[in-house]
């Protein structure tokens, strides 16, 4: 069984502040939470292996995307390290039997979701695929779904887990914390989180026959609301983009990978405004 793991950091047990996950201007807390993050990924790997996963690829998908303590990972896994991947959090996600989302967080605009955002919060105010508001989990699941890879497991806060399971009821959820607004959480301990993720991962792999690839009907309509008008000024000039409002753009394409890259282009370009 070939397994893909996209791992983020905001949804790790105990995390409740940007300083804990900010790799660019590292705060002392970051180094500690980086270890907690790594061990949750290790737990997912070991749980999946206990249920028969053989080949595992981990995509470090947080911030500059080089957070995992590589020396703590079990041998035999492969890791995607580093930033600016065209498919970002789901780079090289094709060809797997299933995918895990570890340490995931709520969509921008979600209430009671610690550190909720969708890719770039300074640019993306809301994003929809075919009219449905998306989190990173649903955007990433849509691309994996195009490659026929089902999501099997999500870990994070309750808002994130419930959000994913509403869209994809076959996904097993591991809730490691209850969020109390944006910057506070009632969390289980890191050790308890590892145990829960290990068990969830094993069950998710065992039950994978019930999982389905997330299907987004083609043509795909991408609607992005930008935080600022000047961002829309720039983004609206991308070939094929339509300006649908002062702070909103639309892009339509039959192919999900084209749409996904267009979304990445949107927050890259919007970030310059």
């Amino acid at each position: 069984m070939r397994l893909y793991i996209s791992s983020d950091m905001e949804g790790v047990a105990g995390v409740c502040a940007w300083e804990q996950v900010d790799a660019r201007t590292p705060h002392p807390e970051y180094e500690r939470y980086r270890a907690f993050y790594t061990y949750e990924v290790v737990a997912a790997i070991e749980g999946a292996r206990s249920a028969g996963a053989t080949e595992i690829l981990v995509n470090d998908s947080h911030g500059p995307m080089r957070n995992l303590l590589l020396e703590e990972l079990p041998t035999g896994v492969r890791v995607i390290f580093g930033a600016r991947k065209p498919f970002s959090m789901v780079q090289n996600g094709g060809g797997f039997d299933g995918a895990f989302f570890i340490g995931y967080h709520g969509a921008i605009g979600d209430a009671d979701a610690v550190l909720a955002h969708t890719y770039t919060p300074s640019v993306v105010y809301e994003v929809r695929l075919n009219g449905v508001v998306c989190s990173e989990a649903t955007l990433n699941a849509a691309l994996l779904g195009y490659w026929n890879v089902p999501v099997l497991l999500v870990s994070g806060d309750r808002t994130t887990v419930d959000g994913v399971r509403t869209m994809m009821p076959w996904v097993r959820g591991v809730t490691v914390k209850e969020s109390i607004g944006m910057f506070a959480a009632d969390s289980i301990s890191p050790v308890a989180a590892r145990r829960a993720i290990y068990e969830g991962a094993a069950a998710a792999v065992s039950d994978r026959a019930a999982a389905r690839a997330y299907d987004v009907a083609s043509p795909v309509v991408l609607d992005v609301q930008l935080a600022k008008v000047e961002q829309a000024d720039l983004v609206a000039t991308i070939p094929g983009f339509e300006r649908t409002g002062a702070r909103s753009v639309r892009f339509i394409d039959p192919e999900m990978p084209v749409v996904f890259k267009a979304f990445v282009a949107t927050f890259r370009l919007g970030g310059l405004a």
Partner: protein
Amino acid sequence: MKLYVSADMEGTAGICAWAQVDPSNRHEYPRSQIAMTQEVRAAIDGARDAGSAEVLINDAHWSMRNLLWEELPDDVRVVSGSRKPFSMVYGADQGFDGAFFTGYHAKIGDAGGTLAHTYSDDVLYNVSVNGLACSEALLNAAVLGIYGVPVLLVTGDRCIVRETTRHLPWVVGVSVKDGIGTNAAESMTPEDARAAIRAGAREAVARRDAAQPFSFTPPIVLEMETVRTEHADFIELLPRFERVGGRAVRFAADDYLTAFRAFLVATRIASAANLPA
């Protein structure tokens, strides 16, 4: 006669260093603002000697707020600031009879072109349309051409004047300096440059019946070579761009305006790759 002026700074007499054209420079740049404004003024005066009436000036350099209002005639309009759609040729669709390019400079890669670049020197290594390597003057002339507006005058260093008049032979060229490499020039004095520009502008307007709108023949193929591979990585995110090499992308379009807009947005997103990863 309604005249459009796209005003850049690097091709102004006496200018030979980035420090002179960088708005954040507090010593040399303010003097260049004066020189640039006075050359634009000379071009307008010459155009009016020959009967031009209505004038729109598009401040087309860097921050695009360089021109000194108080040095310009009080009946012209000025487009100030960035970012604007179509950038250096914003407003080309407003029904002009002719266009001037003042203070223009050579394209990236030209030997002997003072401060040679094409839109962005830290992103772009080469740009061509339908196989023809393009300067800003050619790229912009083709936008004006879509709206039937011929370029009548180009002022700048000898390199850009020679190249523009080779492709657009009806254009009157006023060469105010000879580039000696990228950062040196043998230049006219500002006063001589103003006199030459005024005379050239007068002649350009007088001869406007011979001028033609410049255009590329559709379908359009835009090819861009970038300075570094990470620039092409970002451009490749844009729909319809094809990666044709480590540092090369291609964009095909049925019309030039679509290709020009794609060029501008590609240049912009590539600059995001210059930020820390």
